[in-house]
Symmetry: D2
Subunit: 396 residues, 4 copies
């Protein structure tokens, strides 16, 4: 097992998920709390030489300049006394200045941490420079980059996204179809940094980036972290399929009061997430034709505690209707953070094992998994289990 | 594939599950409704020469003498117009007289269909004679026997249940530790009839019967049909395990207003069912120490429409508590009947394939599966899938 | 008590609510079922000489020409055997041709029952003529008119709606701000027929109509029948107020699969209903500032069985947050029909008592009650109770 | 308005409700939080000269000797930082030694604060002495006594409970049918202290105590504080009655993990509470004949956060079945404490106004209200409102 440290650079470092990942990891390392929720801590990975949490060095970009302590106090996800217990460690973690294109959220206020470069070319170069500086400053050989900022506005994939040559030319001409997400991803690939998109952006679907990463042997994983309701859909959906019960309709509604809820209430941002949430059922079941509704509403009293209510109508023997209603009282960032850590560890590991390009075996981590050809909770888990069935000390 | 008919003899023929199985099959065969809900109709069994529904000849025992039409009207499970559409077919189906020991439900009223024999030896012989007569009268080579009567009062397994010699001696001396369920099961084995216990009786756990059936190459399956809430426990429980989320407590309550609900409200009958429902979680998760409560209440307005409410408390990353509440609006007999048919078809098939004794691959059909060494929805399904992975025309 | 019959003319006669009112009344009169659900059958009205159900003669308008039997079969609200039991009575009930303006629903298909007159003036005259003909044909002295059609598109109240002179002038010039609802209401007033608007149209809010009805002593009642979720809001809301618990947020969602659901999914129709549903809480509580969300979604599997899920967040002592979630499994038309009958009986009674104009004491029947100065389930009920506290045989 | 302080002596001072009342009041007085949840803070009481919270001096008895700070830390009802903020104030509040008879809970462990007197006579005298000493030590003219300990085992009312003479004789002979609750209540009456029973004991139903208090002009209030589920029953029940909807069944289950949950899980203690919870519906509706089930289960993960799930089946027009499910996520002590304060203030006020004996106008505070002849949320509130309709400065 490598004893070397690895950098983790997150886009949206002060957002609820990234900040919870950073601060929660410090809390864990103080052994104040149990470490449930990480799949990489389960017996399946017992024999694999994954990097340890204390080998991660956190940093990243954000459009607000708060340090991680201030951000944690604002995010109100973690308990106050935990935050205080690690205050010294996390006050030092400050975001680098981020980049902005026209696809970023409009209503963000009092942004005080934006790079003063305007062209996409200059932005790309600045990000690459940031990554290299971070490595150097921290004496690191490797970084993993994770996109955790608010979902970007939709972009239609076009000719410029087809291959890396076109994309680079588009960047050179400051083409408006190049998003900040694409620039971060390209910067990661160029610096040999594994890249994860935990949001519903199309970045990693683009051949320009996916093929280039495969060619350069940089592992990628995406997209749209699968934390609660969609995971339950892959689970209940697969049960219905196995039991030969027929889905007649599924109505899902979500209420949450964090920034993610606010952005997803904007139609131009939520299209992809909604589509991901809607598509999954047909993919799992292998048929369509049922009523399928997903609502996401911003609801202040809930804060980061995402709540979902699902009504599932299905037909049993003789076509008789039955239903099942699920009320999920989750915590958005607490469900997301361990998945982010799992992905970081697994991509770092993939990098050591020489596995480049999209990592299809990680399907169960995503609402819209790239590179996988099955859907359904158990089938996705089987993908993972089989990929890691043989512990391989050789890569230690 | 065999074109021959097979007899299906059910204990408790007029109860909601058995009667729904009989009448619903006739409705299906008239093509009035879709046939969702049977696992043996799913692609997994596409290449297996299972017996068809129109090859089943139904009969059995009940302590009430109604014919299947009258019973269907009373049970109020199926739609009136369906019952009317098959009236002619089902009016002819009348139960044989049943046997009673002190383990049967006390409060059953106006029983009018009890065999006038008192000793266990005479009861056993009468049942064997019934099976043989039924075969003869219907020109059948084979019967499958299914226990679907109300759960019996608890019996403590003792020396007499250890081997078949002891059991037969106990029957000869009319030992009170021999239940009607044991007599039916033994009669089945003696007549080479596969036997299913769909209720929480301990019958098939007894070495006396299990070993004897193995020796005689008679397939057995049990126990306690896994229709709704417990199935959800194996499903959600396995998800929690895979996701490394820690169960802190699970509170389940059930309300139903059919005879099953009435019997399960009696402490001396419900012990086993409760135990089955309670044990499953630890078995799936591999640990205990969480609060685990199951209530079953008889609630008249619900009738056969079993409703369950589950509150699941679990701990996520950093030990933070979350919960999930499930309200299941099922239909008891509509969920049970297709499983009964699946089991009949699979045991008939096992008989042809020479598979005797307890059929462990059928774990997913039971709350307390016999002969299986895994628990968890997906692991149980994998057992089934692997057992039937190769279609085998040889047994057609 | 009057022994004379009264005509009931419904706009939207074949819609689920009107049709259920007509057919259900016939079923009730056959004494096939109990008559729960009508407030006018409760002890409060024991001494009041209200008209009896068997004195009502049903008719009305619809854009589809089905008779009431065919409509009942399509609506699937009532049990088939009930519909058959009254088939002879209801086959004779056929709608008159309706009128259409640009405010009516666009997507209605295969309309086959529209009056071939185009100008608003001609439409008004045709409706008046219809009412008179219906009276004559049935030997009636009085009719009550009830608007039960799909909600109309929003209209902004303007100068032409200020007084009756302006409105009549607008009708004469075929002004597009005159809706079909206004024409039906005016026709009712002109024929001395009490008028009820059970939908969220603004018709009865307009001074032109409300003042004119008061002047002509014609009783009016509206608007937007208060059947399920909103009624629960007035109930729970008033409890919170009395108990001094502070509302922090209320999220409501509705799923239903009938025509009402389809129309309310169209933004231009649902505005008013949503506003009614949203306004009620502040009115009951006497303060705002809480998160307040209402969704209505068309969901096919539910049919007429309207389901609602409400999440209520409130603050108790020391500001500690608690919540209450309500899952309401109602039946839209079954809840609405008895209210329609109550309103018909009470408006007919008001007419006899000389009570003209908007009947504020009927607040509890409406989501947006006209003419009442209190909100809250119990306060609204107190209005009703006090108004009818003295049985008055004089009006018999 | 009196400026004098009043003593509040609670039996069970360290239990969740009493301790939350004490500590929460201190938190409120520091203006750290809002004061929602007290009815006596609502406009109805605006003109009444009720005693203020800062005039209350807290004390009482408990079988554990912790001070109020230690108890608050153990009870885990209030936020840690609140408890710390008032630590100095509450560390000084220590319970006096309590008395125990055979009706008290058996399983309490490590009791370290029991009076070393054994006979009931000596116990009574000791309590009276305690009350007098507390007054003297704090310079008080008046105390209010509140029973908030675990519910006692059932006692059958007999001859000795008929009048005060018999009761005193029974105390003198140490009759086992005299409970600790009766001794505390009698001590209160003898010291002219208003007495509240917030638990389901029968104490205040006994003529011996109720008549004696009336004679001595000591106000009493009871019994069994109405905090959550039962309150919802009086609310929903009264709505069903007014709307003429017919109740077909009501299934209620409660899960909670505090001491109250533990005691109520013991059959000999829960009988009364269950009966109260069951009786209320028939009393509100005016009829019986529906299925009526109440379960209370001790469930550790919930702690003091009492959760309830109610399934309500009702019949609407034409007898069609509908249902409503309510999931109540309350906080036991946070709902109870403001009611305790309301009752203290109102009984102190009644004492000033010369209102002795059972105060029937306080029905809405109790599951089993004494001295009231109506049931139903609104009717009970009307009782309260009418009693306090005229502010009366004369009693200031």
């Amino acid at each position: 097992m490598s004893k070397e440290k690895t950098g983790v650079l997150m886009i949206g470092l002060n957002g609820a998920t990234a900040n919870t990942t950073v601060v929660g990891t410090k809390v864990l390392l103080k052994k104040l709390v149990p470490d449930y929720g990480m799949i990489t801590q389960s017996p399946l990975f017992a024999g694999h030489p994954l990097i340890k949490l204390d080998q991660l060095v956190f940093g990243g970009w954000d459009l607000h300049s708060h340090n991680a302590y201030d951000a944690a106090v604002r995010n109100k996800v973690l308990e106050e006394n935990w935050i205080k217990a690690v205050r010294k460690d996390i006050e030092k973690i400050r975001p680098m200045k981020g980049i902005v294109t026209s696809h970023d959220v409009d209503f963000l206020k009092s942004l005080d941490n934006i790079k003063p470069v305007k062209t996409r070319k200059a932005q790309l170069e600045a990000i690459i420079k940031d990554i290299r500086s971070f490595k150097k400053a921290n004496g690191l050989k490797k970084t993993v980059v994770v996109f955790l900022a608010s979902p970007l506005k939709c972009v239609k994939p076009g000719r410029i996204h087809k291959d890396i040559k076109n994309l680079k030319r588009a960047i050179a001409t400051n083409d408006p179809a190049v998003t900040s997400g694409m620039l971060y991803a390209l910067a990661a690939i160029e610096t040999d940094s594994p890249y994860i998109d935990f949001t519903p952006n199309i970045t990693l679907e683009l051949p320009a980036l996916a093929d280039y990463a495969a060619e350069k042997k940089v592992p990628l994983a995406g997209q749209d972290g699968n934390t609660g309701q969609t995971m339950m859909k892959t689970l209940i959906g697969q049960m219905l399929k196995i039991k030969n019960l027929r889905l007649a309709g599924w109505y899902s509604t979500n209420i949450l009061g964090n920034m993610d809820g606010k952005v997803l209430a904007l139609p131009e941002h939520c299209v992809l997430k909604m589509k991901d949430k809607l598509d999954v059922l047909s993919a799992v079941l292998g048929y369509g034709g049922f009523d399928n509704i997903v609502d996401i509403r911003y609801y202040l009293p809930r804060g980061d505690n995402k709540e979902a209510w699902d009504n599932i109508d299905f037909l049993g023997w003789l076509g008789m209707p039955m239903s099942c209603k699920i009320n999920w009282l989750g915590r958005d960032s607490i469900l997301a953070a361990p998945l982010v850590l799992d992905l970081i560890r697994l991509l770092e590991y993939a990098h050591r094992r020489g596995e480049g390009g999209v990592q299809g075996q990680l399907a169960m981590f995503f609402k819209h998994p790239l590179g996988a050809h099955v859907r359904g909770f158990f089938d996705e888990y089987t993908l993972l289990r089989e990929h890691y069935s043989k512990p391989d000390e050789a890569y230690g």
